[in-house]
Structures are given as C-alpha cells and as structure tokens.
C-alpha cells in the first residue's frame, strides 16, 4: 500500500511539472501584450519596453520558464499586474471562499446523490425511482446559471427568505456566512447530485443483481445489511470515480456560480484576470486548478485501493 501511494505521488509530480510547462506556454499564447495593458493604450514605446524588462518579458521563453519555475517552487507567484499585490496574498483571500463553496456543494451532492441513487435502485420501477430519475434528468439538463437566477427570483425576490448575493467571511459572521452560502451551494450541488444519483443507481442495480447478494440473503441478513453493506460497498468504486471526475467540473461550476451570486472567490478572480491579461494571476489560478485536479485524482486512486482489495493487493505484490 505504501509503495502504491509513493508510485502514485511520483506520477502526480510528473503531471504537475508537465502542467506547469503547458500553463507557462499557454498564457504566452494568449493574444495581447501584457506590457501594453499595464502601460496603457497611449503609453510611449519606451515605457512599454521598460515594463517588459522589469517583468522579464524580454527574455527568451526557456529562460522565462526556468525563472518562473524557480520562483513558483520558492512560493513566489509574482505580483498582480493590476494592483501590484503579491499573487499569494490574493489567492489566500480568494481560495477559502471557493473552497467553502465547493466543499459544501460536494457534501450536498454526495448526501443527496448517493442516497437518492440507492433508494432509486432498491425501489426500481416504483414511485421513488421515477421521482429520483426525474430529478436526475432535470439536474443534468438545467444549467447552473439559469437555476441560480430562478433560485434568486424565488427565494430572495419573491419569498425573501435568503439574501440574493454577497459574501461574509465565516470568521466574521458564521450565521450570515452560511445564510449567504445556502443558495449557491444548492445551485452548484444539485447538478452534481444528479450525476452522482444516476451513477449510484446504475452501480447499485448492477450490484444488487450479483450472485453475492443472493448469498447475503441466504445468510438471513436483513435487507438493510444486504443493501447497505454488500451492495453499497461494491458500488462505491463507481461513485468515487464519478466524484473524482466531477470535482474538477465542480471547480469550473464554481466560476459560474460565483458570478451569479457575486461571491468574491476563485472563479471571479479567474474571469477578471483573463479579461485584464494579468499573466501572474492567470498562471497562478491555472496552476492551483491543475494542482487541485491532480491531488483529487491522487486521492481517488488511493480511495480505489482502499475500496478494492484487488487493486490494493496487486500494488503490494508488484512493488
């Protein structure tokens, strides 16, 4: 198991390095000159050249990359070209907001999705199944931004139950924070709950028709144990896979959701940075996203091994 984890970590580092090259090149392939943006449209060529030199933009690309990597590894992500704040400071402000939103949305998605999927599979062809499947179809088809607008219209404008937008840090006002997080969390979480529900349902249907379920029943176990222990355990591999894939999508979903609910998170930062060709911020944002993907996939792989003894034990014997 230790070997398995070490090997996976090694692979993750390779992916991150490759990712950093792509990020570096990708940003430079964007149309527009950041030096011109910083200096202003009417700036003199001399000023633009000075800015280029200051940020090292006049150096050859490989030199720029090595410098970029060296700075990144030492924790220096540069300064924002907009307000000269260190990028790490900006990330420290924005990341927790998005992290809270995605974690809450994930909790909602897992709870609702897995539960609804299990119920739908057990009650296959009955009312609860149709209800869950219908909810799943709706959750997949309805786009976040539209659902978000409808939710604001219903819960904030008409019923006046919840605030329509804004953000208060949890440390300042826990109740106010959670109150403002309810709608974005539900809007972001529901789509993923729908995906998880469908996958859980089909995995559970497969598991419930397996021979070992008949064995479990022949032992005289209660349905609760047959479904909750024997079938669910074997469905979890599928659920974890989908979860890993969806967590990535959850990050991009957060971008849209943050725009609708005016939440000063990572998503809004990304959009603003791209619009202003803020190289250091774009690089940092993408790097954080890539790292998040890689770490999530690493966790999924480890979760796989924990859930499936065949993966875990083959990892041990092949070293």
């Amino acid at each position: 198991m230790t070997w398995f984890i070490l090997r996976r970590c090694g692979a993750a580092v390779m992916v991150l390095l490759l990712g950093s090259v792509l990020i570096f090149l990708g940003v430079r392939a964007l149309p527009g000159d950041p030096a011109v943006v910083m200096a202003g449209e009417d700036a003199s060529p001399a000023l633009v050249a000075a800015i280029r030199e200051e940020y090292g933009l006049d150096q050859p690309l490989p030199v720029q990359y090595v410098e970029y990597l060296r700075q990144t590894l030492s924790g220096n992500l540069g300064r924002s070209t907009q307000d000269q704040l260190p990028v790490t400071t900006i990330l420290a402000q924005r990341l927790p907001v998005t992290l809270e939103l995605t974690v809450l949305a994930m909790v909602v998605a897992i709870t609702v999705g897995v539960l609804a999927g299990v119920v739908a599979a057990v009650r296959r062809g009955r009312f609860a199944d149709y209800l869950a499947t219908g909810f799943g179809l709706a959750g997949l088809s309805v786009p976040h931004f539209w659902l978000g607008l409808l939710a604001i219209l219903l819960f904030s404008v008409t019923l006046r139950w919840l605030p329509a937008s804004g953000y208060v840090p949890f440390t300042e006002d826990p109740a106010g924070n959670l109150q403002r997080m309810v709608l974005p969390t539900l809007v972001l979480g529901m789509g993923f709950a729908a995906v998880l529900m469908r996958q859980t349902r089909s995995a559970m249907l497969g598991a419930l028709s397996a021979d070992y379920i008949r064995t479990a029943r022949s032992k005289g176990l209660a349905e609760r144990a047959v479904v909750g222990v024997h079938a669910l355990r074997n469905s979890l591999t599928t659920v974890v896979t989908v979860l890993g894939l969806q967590l990535g999508a959850l990050i991009s979903g957060a971008v849209v959701t943050e725009q609708i609910f005016v939440i000063p998170g990572f998503g809004k930062l990304t959009v603003d940075a791209v619009l202003t060709r803020n190289y250091p911020v774009i690089q940092a944002v993408v790097l954080v996203t890539v790292t998040a993907y890689v770490v999530i996939n690493l966790l999924v792989d480890i979760a796989y091994a924990l859930l499936n003894p065949r993966i875990r034990l083959s990892g041990a014997s092949h070293g």
């Binding site: 008949r214 022949s218 032992k219 005289g220 209660a222 065949r310």
Partner: protein, 329 residues
C-alpha cells in the same frame, strides 16, 4: 413426519413473455441425515424447486403454491422476519458459482463470521475464531491466514469450500447445494463431495443436492428425484434407481453417461444422447412432457399425463410404458 416435506409445490414466474411454469406440482420429503439428489437437465426446475425452500426466489415475480414444511412448520406463509431466522440458520445454501457468489470486497473471514454473528450472537473475536475452525473443517490449510484473504486470492475449489463453510457455520438442519461441483475441476470435485459426506456424518445435516451429473448422484446421494419439465419423472433410492430405472428419461440419462458410451464402427466410442429439446416452459401440455423425445411413446402418452405410480417400496415413476423391472441401462 419428515424433516422437510414438500407437497404439491408449484412455482411460476411472471415474465415479459408471459407466465413461465417452472415447477408444476412436485412432492418429496427429506429425512434427517439424508442426501437427496434433484437431477435433470438445465431448465427442468430443479434449482427453482430447491430455492423455493428458503424462499430465495424474487418475491415480486414469483407465483408459488403448495406446501413446504420444515419440522412441521409451514415456510411458504412464514412472515419475512421469521424466515430470515430460518435462512442461514436452519436452511442454508451453497450456490453453483463459487467465483461470483462471494463478495469481492470483503475478506472470507468476514463473510463467514457475518452469518455467525447474525444467528449465533457471537462477538467479533469469537466469530473470527469460529470462522477459522470452519475453514479447517472444510479442508482449507492454514485457516488463520486464509480468513484474512479476499475471494480473488483463492482458487475456485477453495472458494467453494468457503461457501460451504458459510453454509454450515450455524449447523443447519437442511443444506441445499446447487450444482456445487459443476464449476470445479474433476480432481477437486471429489474433495468437495467428501466434505458434504463428512458434514452429514458429523452433524447429521440433511442435504438436497442439485445436479445434472448422474455420476455425482451415484457417488453420494441416498435417494434421487429425476425431474423433467417441472415435474418428477422418477423417484427412488439411488441403488434401486441405477439397478432398475423405469422412466425412459432416466434410462436416456444413464445411457448418456460416458461409462455407457457405445463403441462405433471406427472403434470410436460415442456418447448416447436424448434426441429433441425440452418443451417450452411457457406452455403446459396435457400429455406426457417427454412424449416427443421418448423411444417408447405410444398413442395414449399424449392423451393424458402419466401420474407417479409405485414400482417398488420407495420407487415412483410417471410413465404409462415403463422399462421392465431388471432391465439394465
């Protein structure tokens, strides 16, 4: 009163193609310590008959009538919570597929201990110790290590022994073994049959052995019910059945045994076969279901269904024109 009395059991299934008659009125009894073979070819209803006893057939689509009594207690109408106390404790099952009948995500120790904790109220540690003892009982070496292993680490024969260990964990009165040796190599088959014999001798377990292999029947069973198209064609103690088979279907099965192969013109030995196909379970004929394939058929076979008639002290056969007593297969 026998240990298990099955009387006029009828089982049908609602399917998209209509109602399937799987078992059409079968009766048999099982004594303590007896090994009864239910035999016949695929689709004859032997598995359905046996799975009806612990009520392991899908409840939504199954239509069942008749009576199944265990120690005089009617099982067909027993409420589900009480039935769960019967399953695994008084009636347990060894399934056909050892490769898929164990849960791949749990250790074999857990899967054996689970049934002990359910019925015997054992603590986790006590159940684990007992699980190791059971593995030893079914002939698995180094049981203390094996209980920590997962099904995929064991061979087919080992897995089937684990299934047997689960089935006998709570010393059941009746053990149902559904083709327990079919998926195994011949060398391992004999070992598994020995385990059954041993259990019967040690614990007095009555065994219903479902098989299409008459060799297995001859090897281990005390009595056999030969089924055809959902009904009993013949029923007799095994020695009597092999010495004096009365039903043409039983005779055909015996001729199909490799030992009975006929030497052909080129010196090659050829297995005998029963021509034709099993009738569709969607329809039920008025006459004898075996009529179309029977070498001894006559006009009256189609007119009415032959009832089970006594041909000896414990020998029943359902045929108007049975083979003569003393005829060798």
């Amino acid at each position: 009163m026998s240990l298990l009395d099955v009387t006029d059991l009828t089982v049908g299934f609602d399917t998209e193609d209509g109602h399937v008659h799987a078992v059409k009125g079968i009766s048999f009894s099982l004594e303590e310590g007896e090994i009864l073979a239910l035999c016949g070819e695929s689709g004859c209803g032997k598995t359905v008959t046996a799975m009806a006893v612990p009520r392991l057939l899908p409840p939504q689509t199954t239509r069942l009538s008749g009576s199944i009594r265990l120690d005089g207690r009617e099982l067909t109408t027993l409420p589900e919570p009480l039935m769960r106390q019967v399953r695994g404790k008084e009636v347990s099952v060894v399934f056909q597929e050892p490769m898929t009948s164990l849960n791949p995500s749990f250790t074999v120790g857990f899967q054996i201990a689970e049934v002990l904790r359910r019925h015997e109220n054992l603590s986790r540690a006590a159940a684990r110790n007992r699980a190791a003892e059971l593995l030893e009982l079914v002939g698995i070496p180094a049981p203390a290590q094996r209980i920590k292993e997962y099904p995929h680490q064991l061979s087919g024969g080992m897995r089937q022994r684990v299934m047997i260990a689960i089935a006998v964990a709570c010393s059941p009165r009746v053990l149902i073994a559904d083709e327990p040796t079919t998926a195994l190599d011949v060398t391992i088959q004999a070992g598994v049959l020995d385990v059954f014999r041993d259990l019967r001798d040690r614990l007095g377990t009555a065994i219903i052995l479902i098989t299409h292999d008459l060799g297995v029947v001859a090897d281990i069973a005390d009595r056999a019910v030969v089924m055809y198209a959902g009904r009993a064609a013949e029923q007799a103690p095994v020695e009597e059945l092999f010495a004096r088979p009365r039903h043409p279907y039983t005779l055909g099965l015996m001729k199909a045994l490799p030992a009975a192969a006929v030497t052909g013109p080129a010196g090659r030995r050829r297995l005998a076969e029963i021509p034709g196909m099993v009738p569709s379970p969607l329809a039920d004929l008025d006459g004898c279901a075996f009529h179309a394939r029977c070498p001894q058929r006559q006009d009256d076979c189609l007119a009415a269904r032959p009832p089970l008639v006594r041909h000896g002290p414990a020998h029943l056969a359902a045929c108007f024109h049975p083979g003569h007593s003393g005829e060798q297969p």
